[in-house]
């Protein structure tokens, strides 16, 4: 498992983007190509039925393949473990569907380093959203209130997949919620571990593709169920 993804002169090889992908064949290579000039990329192919893994590899990412689908939380933890094993200094969690902006992610990394932070969390409500459906805005706002109440973190966004973690923070945080409840779990661990965090304004672009792939409102019920039954201790 030793080795690293191919190097480019301008690339920061201590910076790893972790992308969890499930059936993202049509989009993943483009997303990876956007990132790979700047940082190392690991795509965790979460048991996709399509050619997500091959496409990601062709785009220039390292690919770790889950033989069966285990959910986004599980895939992110796999990618983080992989990146740490490769010597990552900072880890960025990044969506596979093209919603996130690479330049903003790099700004977040720069801020994380400059201010010596453990975590920088993307906030679409400090930044901007493009084509965000009203129903989704409502659900996310409700999640923000819930997260504030349960973690005590004074957040403006929740369930935002764009995050930067220092190596130490990535080592300390263990995602045990395999599915979508991992987003709340990461925040509650940030609170419990008393990590030094900041939010950073980001733009989330809701394309037709990302809306079709993204979370549905009905998923919020599943997230609550996951949180209720918890994960292993």
């Amino acid at each position: 498992m030793n080795g690293s993804c191919f190097n480019a002169m301008s690339r920061d090889d201590t910076l790893w983007f972790v992308i969890a992908a499930f059936n993202e064949g049509p989009m993943i290579a483009e997303v990876v190509r956007g990132v790979s000039p700047h940082a190392q990329v690991v795509v965790v192919d979460d048991g996709s039925a399509d050619d997500t893994g091959d496409q990601a590899l062709a785009g220039g990412a390292c690919v770790a393949t889950h033989l069966v689908n285990r959910g986004q939380g599980a895939a992110l933890q796999t990618g983080i473990d992989f990146a740490l094993a490769q010597g990552a200094g900072h880890v960025v969690t990044f969506d596979a569907d093209g919603q996130h902006d690479v330049d903003e992610a790099l700004e977040m990394v720069a801020r994380c380093r400059a201010e010596g932070l453990d975590a920088v969390l993307g906030s679409r409500f400090l930044g901007a959203t493009v084509n965000m459906p009203f129903s989704r805005r409502l659900v996310i706002k409700a999640a923000v209130v819930f997260t504030r109440l349960t973690t005590g973190l004074n957040l403006t966004d929740a369930h935002n997949g764009l995050r930067v973690l220092s190596r130490e923070a990535a080592r300390k945080i263990r995602i045990r919620q395999d599915r979508m409840a991992h987003a709340s779990e990461i925040l509650s661990q940030i609170a419990r571990l008393r990590l030094n965090w900041r939010e950073h304004p980001v733009t989330i672009t809701y394309s037709e593709y990302s809306l079709a792939k993204g979370q549905k409102i009905s998923n919020s019920v599943r997230i609550l169920e996951d949180m209720l039954f918890g994960a292993r201790s």
């Binding site: 498992m1 030793n2 080795g3 690293s4 993804c5 191919f6 690991v42 965790v44 893994g53 590899l57 062709a58 785009g59 220039g60 990412a61 390292c62 690919v63 770790a64 393949t65 889950h66 033989l67 069966v68 285990r70 599980a74 933890q77 796999t78 473990d81 992989f82 094993a85 045990r176 395999d178 039954f229 918890g230 994960a231 292993r232």
Partner: protein, 117 residues
């Protein structure tokens, strides 16, 4: 009569299985055995079930059985969900270990022969 015999047979089976099988918690083993023994007793003494029901404020013995069954079913389902989650967690750990061991690297060479696990 036939129904009583069938019910008795089922409770005896439960009693036997509980007596023979190993349980993680001794308390659970004793509870299941007591439940089966009580079942046999109440099958042949239905009036006692009604008395017990009245004692706890439920009208009829049949109602008490319905409520008790509902509670037991609920606990069983919750237990099954928790067990299923635990197996899922183990599966995730296995899948993760394999994924990392067998990770693929784009082109390159320096990855060496063990880059595919």
């Amino acid at each position: 009569m036939i129904v009583s015999l069938i019910a008795t047979g089922l409770f005896l089976f439960v009693l036997f299985v509980a007596a023979v099988r190993k349980f993680t918690f001794l308390g659970l083993k004793i509870s299941v055995m007591l439940f089966a023994a009580a079942g046999i007793y109440f099958v042949w003494n239905p009036d006692q079930m009604t008395r017990l029901a009245q004692l706890v404020g439920v009208g009829r013995g049949a109602d008490l059985i319905t409520y008790a069954t509902t509670v037991i079913l609920f606990l069983t389902v919750v237990g099954a969900i928790i067990r299923e989650r635990r197996s899922g967690d183990v599966l995730t750990l296995l899948v993760r270990r394999l994924a990392i061991q067998q990770a693929r690297f784009p082109e390159r060479p320096k990855a060496g022969p063990d880059s595919r696990g």
